[in-house]
Amino acid sequence: MKVLPPTLRDNVRYVAFEVISDEIINAKDIKNEILSATTSLLGDVGLTNLGIELISFAGQKGLLRCRHSRTEDVRSVLATIFSVKRYRLSVRVLGVSGTLAGAKEKYLQTEKRSKHNTSFNITRPISGKATRIHDSEIDIVTDDNKVIDRSDVGLVGITIHDNKELK
């Protein structure tokens, strides 16, 4: 079939987003979760109006296509994503662009953040085992289940400024 002329095509926007999570999330899971969150918040009609489509998701960053007038709805939907496969996560919109190339260039360039896994015990400010370090941020697995239950997360987040020994 012939491709529609530009005047008859839908105006689209490309929304770049970042996933902050306890574990690495795959594209299929995040796609399902976005669709589920959209139908839950806006319903099936809302999903149609949004014209939402996941274009790419690699690492922790992804790109969505939606109708140009619906970017605020997409922001709301992404903000309501709570967890994927019981792993707690948060989705942050990095920016919105009118072209695919623009979105990739502006928002999806890989950051050089020194993120690596580690394993050492820590006692202050909370006892547990440090698992990840990225810049000054440290994620800890703790045995304090009461705190974990109250916050409904898997890892405890601290910085090197919370423990003088780590500086």
Partner: protein, 221 residues
Amino acid sequence: MVEYYDLCIHSRPECTDSPERLKLVSNRYGFTNIAITNHSTYWQPLESMDIISGIELVAKSAQMLRNLINIYRDKVTILVVHGGDERINRVACSDSRVDVLIHPESGTSNGLNHTLAKFAKRNDVAIGFSIDYLWRHRGYYRSKLLSLQRKNFSICRKFALKIVLTSGALSLYDLKAPREVEALSRFIGMDGTESESALSTIPRNILNKRLKGVKSGKELL
């Protein structure tokens, strides 16, 4: 550039993440500063001076709330009252030492009426809209809370009350960027200017009022 503030965030020892980590993440999201307002049962003084100190008072009776306000007013910058119960809402709205009455709605009632709104207006108490239920729950419970918040917002608009928007974060995953909070606040019925001032101007004015009070106190001494 607009300065954004989130005035109701929970950290260690009540929840998992340290205040420093929450500040770091919120700065990355575009907030100028955050207030750590742990519930009064878990409250501890903050070590860092860069973060705004606060408390969320949880009381079972009106008298208990008055006592807690007397104890904590001078210890923190931002004093938030955990609403829900009608008697608690009334005491919070009637006391000018209270900065924010957060989530006055409970399971069935919106917790705010014209009388309380007049008290809140007279005593300069802001009404806090915590939107964490939008990602914590789905289905009937979420829609019920949303309808109660809409009702409260229409009362706040009618009586020109101060409104504070907050993520009510219990962890760094609950922190949402100002644009996301503004996008979600549209469901409550807020327009762009209202939600922006609820995240920037109004919190800034509350902080100015309290910090000015501390300064003048020092001068008097």
